[in-house]
């Protein structure tokens, strides 16, 4: 960021104070003027990956030590010979085998029986609750990741502080704190084919907004032009993954690659989000092979490539997977599973308390099931998310992030190492 820009933001803020305008803008302008000129190299990063459609937690982190699992799923259970054993009781779906070494070096943990206190089996409602962070309350208009950004003033806002990879900003990042939706890093900025013409037009708009914009239009456009400048330096078109990492083809792999790229570029990324669909396996879900296996393969290859690409940098990165609910314990008549309750989530990264299946496992016994059919929730998803915010990102106050929920360290599943 050049001196003149900083001076502009500062003096613009001061001018507005005297006019008594727009407290929200003032808050942002104050942040902008205190912006450090370079990011510390090890800013912690949280990457959230949403498995939309409700992943079958029981075939992802398989309770192969439990005979009931095989009895309830005669056609779709993962044979114990195929399971990648973790601790004698749980094991990975064979498609997740690329993650086994991360389990062994203790940077991968699974949290089982995690979910929402709300009983809904509607994808729409349950995703909504998981993203708003307020299960049971529909009228929350913003997402919990955005509220974290708004209330945590420890970290300066930069254009790339919170980035979702996709065409639109997801609910989880919606709100008044600045957040970017990026489909393609290479296309970020003004779309003019020739570089010289693009630079000229960019400068023209930058001047227009510097001179004539007020309030949020001024601060947001500043952030945007600063981001363009940063990307020009980073040059995403030239990016090659490190350590021979090979991301899977497709939108998900591309999103992970771009997240890795932003992390390495030290542009102030703190929150990244991407989603992947195809988990709603009502019909012919498959077992060691098949529909679910293919989706898990993409997930496993993606996470392994991401870990390899970032290498040492993973020491300050936590990746968290999430899904709106799990699926029925018993398979249905179509060799699939229906909407259930608790599911499993994965945590990956240097700060993760890995090599463990965390959370209180309620078992598959009919007496301990939710409504007689589903895995019961023993960890409220907010306890896991709150732990990641508090112990990894250093959030001080979780009350405004999860309103109506008293986060309690005693209930944290222990996904992040303390000390």
């Amino acid at each position: 960021m050049t001196i003149s820009r900083r001076v502009f933001v500062k003096s613009g803020g001061l001018a507005l104070v005297s006019l008594g305008l727009d407290p929200l803008f003032l808050a942002r302008a104050a942040l902008a003027s205190n912006r450090p000129s370079a990011q510390p190299p090890d800013r912690p990063v949280l990457v959230c990956l949403f498995q939309r459609g409700a992943v079958d937690g029981l075939n992802m982190i398989v309770p192969h030590g439990e005979p009931l699992y095989y009895r309830e799923r005669p056609r779709i259970a993962i044979p114990s010979t195929d399971v990648v054993d973790l601790d004698g009781h749980f094991g990975l779906h064979p498609s997740l085998a690329p993650l086994k070494s991360l389990w062994d070096n203790k940077s991968l943990a699974a949290i089982h029986a995690v979910g929402s206190p709300d009983a809904t089996r509607s994808h729409f409602d349950a995703q909504d609750y998981m993203e708003s962070g307020t299960p049971g309350v529909k009228s929350t208009s913003d997402g919990w990741l955005n509220r974290y950004c708004r209330h945590d003033q420890e970290h300066a806002d930069t254009a790339f502080r919170a980035v979702a990879f996709g065409p639109q900003l997801p609910r989880i990042l919606a709100g008044t704190s600045p957040a970017l939706a990026i489909d393609d890093l290479q296309a970020f900025g003004l779309r003019v084919p020739q570089a010289a013409a693009r630079d000229k037009l960019t400068r023209a708009f930058e001047e227009l907004y510097e001179g004539a914009a007020t309030g949020l239009l001024a601060s947001s456009s500043q952030e945007g032009f600063a981001a363009i400048e940063v990307l020009r330096r980073v040059n995403p078109a030239q990016y090659r993954p490190a350590n021979g990492a090979a991301y899977p083809q497709g939108r998900f792999g591309r999103a992970l690659l771009q997240i890795a790229q932003l992390i390495k570029a030290d542009v102030g990324l703190e929150i990244a989000f991407a989603d992947l669909g195809g988990w709603d396996t009502h019909v012919n879900q498959g077992s060691s092979d098949g529909q679910l296996a293919a989706r898990l393969r993409e997930l496993g290859l993606g996470l392994a490539a991401f870990n390899q690409d970032l290498g040492e940098r993973m020491r300050s990165v936590v990746v968290l997977t999430m899904s709106e609910f799990g699926r029925t314990i018993a398979e249905n008549g179509n060799s699939g599973t229906d909407h259930g309750h608790a599911t499993a989530m994965l945590a990956l990264g240097g700060p993760v308390n890995g090599g463990k299946v965390l959370g209180k496992w309620p078992g598959l016994d009919p007496a301990s099931r939710f409504e007689g059919r589903d895995v019961a929730v023993t960890t409220d998803f907010r306890d896991l998310f709150a732990e990641a915010l508090a112990r990894h990102l250093g959030a001080r106050d979780l009350q405004p992030v999860f309103p109506g929920f008293a986060a309690d360290t005693a209930r944290f599943p222990g996904a992040i190492r303390t000390g």
């Binding site: 529909k138 600045p178 037009l201 023209a204 708009f205 945007g224 879900q285």
Partner: protein, 517 residues
């Protein structure tokens, strides 16, 4: 009534006219066109100033008498309007069946390489209809002469939000817009409220169709009917549609309201049929809602409750404040809200009278209200289309531009609808998106729009004259000296007149002045 307001207006207008920064008739016309309409078309600021802005506002309120033949012609291109709910439901069913079969085939063959969501004819056709619904909103906003009505349709669609991505709402939303929102947009609030309560789209979206009196047993032919009370609609009805979050109700009131609405459901949604009251699901006990007792009278209880809610002061205040946030400023002054509430009291919730009170309130015309609001993505795209005289092409891509800028229509999952406030819309990515859209539109490259700038601005080698014309025709004279200087500097090395014009228009529409209204 009209005379009374006119007198008030004149009384207020005189001191304003005497003050130093009195808005000119053109300023007032631009302000009204920005707020009651989706921005001016070329020459419209002058024509509204000529007939008088208050007279133009009255014409907009009295919209039935405004001819709208050009729009009617355009609407004929939308097949969606030829189908009723049952036909849409059937097409949805076809698409769903096709998808299921495809998934089964894929699963059986183990073929996972085919892209999900790419379907055959039924799927494509149904998706096309969903796109038509969004595009129709953009086309109406851009081309209707009845601009205030379109603004109010957008306002109520947002106030009584439904999410087209949720199950049956995929085929219930079109009739929600056509039959529930549009006919009531400038009618009485109570009628609109009752219409939304009975609409299958809302009954499905907020789960009231799933709400059953505790302990009620379904008829034998419906063994899979839902059980138990669902409070979602009751809560949002109080919190969002009527009283507001601080409206003074309790959780006990929410439960009582949910009990009153048990039985309000949908008759065979998969056949697209409409509202049905299911006697078996209704809670027959006595209920109390903020002290008012409701004995079992079946469906009438709900209607009585909606009427009661519509006349609560908290409702008038909550909805009036939201209207003022839309028309005056994000944080509206009390004066215009009070004026709106008073008109609501006097007229039992005649929406036109409430709007008239806002448009004649001094707060609406105050200098600090002018250009105080940032356009939403819909307002930005539609106002740019209007300013340049662009025509949507035969595709549905203009609505996709609005979606890419952050406001996919009918796709807000939260029942709050899209916020009125600028913090939602202004961020660095969104602003860059607007600059790109502006430059593309000016160059005739915006997907979905055909533009012929010759209709708006003659191309000229005289750059000062060009920039003056851009200011007058597209920005209504709001261009700052700084913006003018920057555009002039950019034009300095452009010799081709058409290129200069397109650059000037792109910078003007993508620049800060045009983001405000």
């Amino acid at each position: 009534m009209r005379l009374r307001f006119l007198t008030v207006w004149l009384a207020l207008a005189v001191p304003t006219a005497l003050s130093a920064q009195a808005p000119t008739p053109r300023d007032s016309a631009l302000h009204a066109l920005n707020r009651l309409a989706y921005g001016p078309r070329p020459g419209e600021v002058d024509s509204v100033a000529r007939i008088g802005v208050m007279r133009w506002i009255e014409r907009q309120l009295d919209f039935e008498r405004l001819p709208d033949g050009r729009l009617a012609e355009r609407e004929r291109a939308f097949k969606l309007l030829d189908y009723d709910r049952a036909e849409l439901a059937q097409r949805y069913g076809d698409a769903l069946r096709e998808r299921r079969e495809m998934q089964r085939d894929m699963a059986q063959s183990g073929d996972t390489t085919r892209r999900r969501g790419v379907g055959g004819r039924p799927t494509r056709e149904f998706r096309q209809l969903g796109g038509e619904l969004q595009q129709l909103a953009v086309v109406r906003a851009a081309f209707s002469e009845r601009q205030l009505r379109e603004v109010m349709v957008d306002f109520w669609t947002n106030h009584f939000n439904v999410f087209i991505g949720k199950g049956a709402d995929r085929f219930l939303t079109p009739s929600y817009i056509e039959e529930t929102i549009r006919p009531n947009a400038l009618g009485r609030f109570e009628d609109l409220l009752i219409a939304t309560a009975k609409s299958p789209a809302m009954l499905f979206y907020l789960d009231n169709a799933q709400s059953v009196a505790p302990g009620a047993s379904p008829p034998r032919n419906r063994p899979r009917a839902p059980r138990g009370l669902n409070e979602n609609y009751a809560r949002e009805l109080l919190e969002l549609h009527t009283l507001g979050v601080d409206g003074g109700y309790t959780q006990q009131d929410v439960i009582a309201v949910a009990r009153i609405f048990t039985g309000w459901g949908i008759d065979r949604p998969q056949q697209g049929a409409g509202f049905a009251f299911h006697e078996w699901a209704h809670d027959r006990g006595d209920k109390q809602v903020f002290g008012v007792r409701f004995r079992n009278t079946g469906m009438d209880e709900g209607v009585r409750l909606l009427r009661l809610l519509a006349e609560q002061h908290a409702t008038m205040h909550h909805v009036s404040r939201k209207l003022c946030a839309r028309f005056v400023s994000d944080e509206p002054p009390d004066g215009c809200v009070d004026a709106a509430v008073e008109a609501w009291h006097h007229t039992n919730g005649d929406i036109r009278a409430v709007l008239r009170a806002i448009f004649t309130s001094p707060d609406f015309w105050a200098p600090q209200a002018l250009r105080a609001k940032v356009k939403t993505p819909l307002e930005f795209v539609v106002s740019a289309v209007r300013a340049t005289g662009a025509e949507p092409d035969s595709t549905l891509r203009l609505a996709q531009v609005v979606a890419r800028l952050g406001q996919p229509l009918y796709l807000q999952p939260a029942p709050t609808g899209y916020p009125e406030t600028q913090a939602q819309w202004v961020n660095s990515g969104a602003l860059l998106g607007r600059m790109n859209a502006a430059v593309a539109l000016a160059a005739g490259r915006l997907p979905g729009a055909n533009v012929n700038l010759d209709d708006v601005l003659s191309s000229t080698g005289d750059h000062p004259a060009l920039v003056d014309a851009v200011n007058a025709r597209l920005l209504g004279g709001t261009m700052s000296a700084h913006t003018r200087a920057v555009i002039m500097a950019q034009l300095a090395d452009v010799s081709d007149p058409a290129q200069a014009r397109s650059l000037a228009v792109g910078l003007a529409l993508g620049g800060p002045e045009f983001q405000r209204q």
